[in-house]
Symmetry: C2
Subunit: 198 residues, 2 copies
Amino acid sequence: MATAIELLDAGGTAGLTMRGLADRLGSGVMSLYWHVDNKEKVFDLALDAVLAYREPPQHVEAHDWRKDIVHLLEDWRASMLRHPWSAPLLPSRALGPNILGRLELMSRTLSKAGVADADLNVAIWSLWNYVMGATITRASFDRSEDDMAAAQQRLTGLVAPTIERSRLLLDNDWDGVFRNGLDFLLDGFVPRGAAVTR
Amino acid sequence: MATAIELLDAGGTAGLTMRGLADRLGSGVMSLYWHVDNKEKVFDLALDAVLAYREPPQHVEAHDWRKDIVHLLEDWRASMLRHPWSAPLLPSRALGPNILGRLELMSRTLSKAGVADADLNVAIWSLWNYVMGATITRASFDRSEDDMAAAQQRLTGLVAPTIERSRLLLDNDWDGVFRNGLDFLLDGFVPRGAAVTR
DNA sequence: CATCCTATGGTACAATGTACGAGTCAAGTG
DNA sequence: CACTTGACTCGTACATTGTACCATAGGATG
């Protein structure tokens, strides 16, 4: 698994081949198939491995649930960005135990933060959507900054004065954008100061 | 292009092969390469074709900018869901004219709705993130509802009482969730009743 | 010794993207 | 008319991939 992740980090989704993996492990290709059904399974396992979550130092008597949620989501995002192939993979693959664990933690934290049970699923999925969208976009555009510049150029040919002027495609304060939209979402689900300590 | 999209609709990303496309067109495989550099280009073109936007019936003297934005984003999402392979592709591919056009329209509409120039890029990217996350997730999970059920089952084995109880993974009010989170985001960027008519 | 389970890995095959180069046909040019 | 040129088609060939099938080896157990 570790070497699979190495290959993925080095060459993206296309960088992982069964032959390549076997070579790096000094084994025959077909030996891999004793441990693993498919190449698909390798992806599933690598993905879940990358999403492992080390519980933070547990300042148990915490106060600020809002901060906890933000930390949770930013750590999730950071984990995926450390392995840029992972984010685009996540929605299309089976949910492994680690991501399920994160969802559970998220659910509990939101609950403690004062989100009513009835709104919990909506809140979780909305946050999921936002985090996944931001991370997939970031992870993909990262590799193709040339594309962005090219597209910004191409704007001159089209009738797109507004986004050309604002240099939308060259804006790369990814973290700031992420945090800003996240705040607005959270304001909706967990009105500031409404946290319930129980 | 039309038949390429047919193939993609029928079999997803894997359903498009150069040989398959050529067969459907009654041509030789290599003939395709006179019109197109790569298979990659085929994806780029198909993707942009799917994102074409027919301006709505133009009730010019509109009033509710908020409604316009929601319409804009829901139409975008609907366009991608009509071709489930498109959403996961979009972030990783070059931005074609149609998607750039949509961004421009979005920018203009947000501006009219009262978003300050300084906040424009942040707003656009946040909305992009949210829409893309929601759509990619929806488009991918759609195909694998079995996976979801399986994962929900697997929860019993883990320690995940909260999301097991709330049946998070079986909740499938996708449209409701989308709309709900979107409203909160918009509340942040375009406070209700703050629309400026100019 | 025989039997079985765990594990390895070589060979072979089908599917894919595409490089190369030969071919067709119509329009233009002398 | 012969010719060139440029747009376009396509057969062959090859490298790369995932993986099915099968033979093998070693240790544990009877």
